[in-house]
């Protein structure tokens, strides 16, 4: 009787399909990944039960923390045009290089006078720079109001859309700061805006 020969099989597995899947997923994650914008001040967002996701584009966000207000708006073209108009308004000349830098700046909070100097800093120095927030308290020196107004104008002229305005505030922020901010918005007849919240965790119910 002939012995049954056990067929010796190769132990190597065909990795091609697995590799395909892995890279497909990788591509997906790379493309959907959004660079996380670091807030200049620690902001602890309050939790709430609302589940409306914030829209991805066409947003103007005011970040509030430690009594300072920071300004961020989506879209490089909007940022650049807003800077140009703000420069005209305040009589500050920005070079083309500064404008390009500003268009890549996701969030900032410096007064108009310091802005040119702030833009000249390189990445490392900018991180160390203590941003003082945009002045918004007095009616004579309300730069924040002008920033918002110019950004809205630019968005209408470039994309013909109305900017959505949202406030991202810190849990511990005292109400007067928020009240002033809301006052700034209401003076521009913005009565509808959004507050950024996180989803309430299951533990605290």
């Amino acid at each position: 009787m002939p012995r049954v020969k056990v067929q010796r099989k190769s132990t190597s597995i065909d990795m091609t399909a697995m590799c395909d899947v892995a890279f497909l997923l990788l591509t997906f994650f790379i493309l959907t990944a959004k660079p996380r914008v670091e807030d200049p001040v620690p902001v602890d967002i309050p939790a709430a039960t609302t589940e409306i996701p914030i829209p991805d584009d066409n947003m103007l966000m005011l970040t509030v923390g430690q009594g300072k207000v920071f300004f961020s708006v989506d879209g490089n073209d909007i940022r650049m045009q807003t800077l140009t108009q703000m420069g005209d308004k305040y009589g500050v000349k920005f070079t083309d290089e500064q404008k390009v830098k500003f268009s890549g700046l996701p969030i900032f909070g410096v007064p108009m006078k310091q802005l040119a100097g702030y833009l000249d800093l390189n990445g490392e120095e900018r991180k160390k720079f203590q941003q003082t927030g945009i002045p918004y308290d007095t009616t004579a020196n309300n730069e924040l109001s002008d920033w918002i107004r110019e950004a809205r104008k630019v968005d209408v002229s470039l994309h013909n859309k109305a900017l959505r305005i949202s406030i991202k505030g810190d849990n511990k922020e005292e109400y007067p700061t928020i009240k002033k901010l809301i006052g700034v918005l209401q003076r521009q007849k913005i009565n509808k805006f959004a507050l950024i919240t996180t989803v309430k965790g299951g533990t605290k119910k």
């Binding site: 190597s12 309050p46 409306i52 996701p53 949202s166 109400y175 918005l185 509808k192 507050l195 989803v199």
Partner: protein, 177 residues
Amino acid sequence: MAELDTSGGGKHKGGKVRSKKASTRVDLTAMVDLAFLLITFFMLTTTLSKPKAMDLAMPDKEEHNDDQLAVAASRSMTLLLGANNKVEWFIGEPGKSQPTTDNYGKDGLRKTLIEKGKEIQQSTGKYMVVLIKPSDKSTYKNVVDTIDEMNITGVQSYAIVDILPAELELLKRDGNY
């Protein structure tokens, strides 16, 4: 790497020495390892819980006296947000009814809102109007919490209004300011 030599071996005795045909298969294991490593990295760095937005409409500051509705005092509930995460509420006009101090959360404000909402619905046949008046000592979290309670309890109409001096006195008297 993880491949055993399964060829019989030693079959080429004699014969011509052929140029060895190199296998066209590349070992993809390392590549897959790398790909999964990167996937893990990108999965973990993408923000998993995207922040949500809570829409808020403020009352118009402009005076439109012609289309303003007068709300009966019996239907209006006022919430005074004080310091130390305390809230005071009363129904009607300030001074005429005694405010009650309450906590935020499920057993405090939410219960009150649901109960009073029902009572007012029964007695007047109309929905309750809530006025939120944050004092200067309250935090942003308090305001968001309060609005959130409005959403949870389904209060149809609410507004954030500036606090009146008389109401500040109430908060001070009860030690919540």
